[in-house]
C-alpha cells in the first residue's frame, strides 16, 4: 500500500454496501516498523490493518461497520490525538540533520511492514524508521 494513494479513499462496508468513512492517514507503529491501521474521520476513527478485507483501487473494503473502532492506547491513540499524518511531515535523521519532507510511504499490503519512505524524492529503507511525533518523523542516520 502507498499512503498517498490511500488518502481520501472511501471505506466501504460490503455487508451493508455503504460507505462508512474515508481514509485520512495511515497509523504507524514506529517501534514495530509497521502500518497498524488507517485513520478514518468519525466517531470510531481507527480501522486496524487486520480488519481490512481488501485494499482495492477504488475503495478499502470491510465486512461490517464494526471493523472501525476507538483508538487503543499507544500508537493509535497518539496518531488520533495528534492528527499525526506522517505525510508532509519534516523528516529528521537521528543525528539531528533534516532530510526533507515525507512525500510517501510504502508498506506491505498484508502485514503493514514499512518498506520505503520517500523523502524529497529519495527512497529511504523502511526499517530505518525510529519515531513519529508532532514535530517530525525520525529515521536512523
Amino acid at each position: 500500500m502507498r499512503a498517498r494513494e490511500l488518502k481520501g479513499r472511501p471505506v466501504l462496508d460490503v455487508v451493508e454496501a455503504r460507505q462508512v468513512g474515508k481514509v485520512e492517514a495511515v497509523v504507524l507503529d514506529p517501534e514495530a516498523g509497521r502500518v497498524v491501521g488507517l485513520m478514518v474521520k468519525g466517531d470510531r476513527p481507527v480501522l486496524p490493518v487486520d480488519a481490512v478485507k481488501a485494499l482495492g483501487p477504488d475503495a478499502v473494503t470491510v465486512e461490517g461497520a464494526d471493523a472501525l473502532r476507538l483508538p487503543q492506547p499507544g500508537p493509535e491513540q497518539r496518531a488520533v490525538d495528534g492528527s499525526l499524518d506522517p505525510l508532509g511531515r519534516l523528516v529528521l535523521a537521528d543525528d539531528g540533520t533534516a532530510l526533507g519532507t515525507l512525500d510517501d510511504l510504502e508498506a506491505d499490503d498484508l502485514d503493514g511492514t514499512v518498506r520505503t519512505l520517500t523523502v524529497d524524492g529519495q527512497a529511504i529503507e523502511g526499517d530505518r524508521l525510529v519515531g513519529i511525533g508532532s514535530y517530525a518523523v525520525v529515521v536512523r542516520a
Partner: protein
C-alpha cells in the same frame, strides 16, 4: 556521516527533538563543568517566539546527537534539575581568561567549539586574543582536550596549544586532530 564543528553560540534556539519526533524545547545556552573544561549540558527555553526559560536542564549524557537542524534526545525524560548537571551546577566559561601552563594569557573566551554528530564533544575555545598575540584583531580558535583545567577564575591549557591556533572553523578540525595526536604522544 561528517562530523561538523560548530560554535556553541550558534546552537542557541535549535530545537530539542525526541527520537519519537516531538519537539520538547529549544537550547538556550551551554553549561561547562569546572575542573576539566568539559561540556556538562545545556539550559533550555520553551519552543517558539514567546518561549520563556525553563528550569530543567539537558545533561550532556542525555543528548543523542547534536545536528545541523536539531538536538536529538531519547525521550521527554532526558531533562534534569540544574544541580544534577554537575556537583557545583556547572559554569559558563565565556568571559574567562585562557592562560597557558607556562603563564601567558592568550585571551578572553568568547565561545566554545563543539564537534557535532552522534558523537559530540567539546574540541576548543574561541577567544578574543590578548594584545600580546599576533592576530590582526581577529578572534582565534584553540583546540582543547581532556587535559584542560578550568575554574571560575580561568581556563588553563598546555603551552603547546600555541602551535594549533587557527582563525576560522574550516581549518580547525585538522588543528584539533594535530593537537590531540601530539598530546597523546606526550603521555
Amino acid at each position: 556521516m561528517n562530523d561538523v564543528l560548530v560554535r556553541a553560540g550558534d546552537l542557541i534556539g535549535r530545537p530539542v527533538v525526541t527520537l519519537g519526533g516531538d519537539r520538547v524545547g529549544e537550547l538556550k545556552d551551554v553549561v561547562l563543568g569546572l575542573g576539566r573544561g568539559v561540556l556538562v549540558g545545556f539550559t533550555l527555553r520553551n519552543p517558539g517566539f514567546l518561549g520563556g526559560p525553563r528550569r530543567e536542564t539537558l545533561p550532556w549524557p542525555s543528548v543523542h546527537a547534536v545536528g545541523a537542524d536539531a538536538v536529538m534526545v531519547a525521550g521527554p525524560d532526558a531533562f534534569a534539575e540544574p544541580q544534577d548537571l554537575a556537583p557545583d551546577g556547572g559554569h559558563e566559561t565565556v568571559d574567562l581568561p585562557l592562560v597557558t601552563d607556562d603563564g601567558q594569557t592568550l585571551g578572553r573566551i568568547v565561545d566554545v567549539v563543539l564537534e557535532t554528530g552522534t558523537r559530540a564533544q567539546v574540541v576548543g575555545f574561541e577567544i578574543e586574543p590578548s594584545p600580546s598575540l599576533p592576530s590582526n584583531g581577529h578572534r582565534l580558535l584553540l583546540p582543547i582536550d581532556a587535559m584542560a583545567a578550568a575554574s571560575e577564575q580561568a581556563v588553563v591549557v598546555p603551552a603547546s596549544v600555541r602551535h594549533f591556533v587557527r582563525d576560522d572553523l574550516s581549518g580547525f578540525g585538522a588543528a584539533v586532530a594535530g593537537f590531540r595526536a601530539m598530546s597523546e604522544d606526550a603521555r
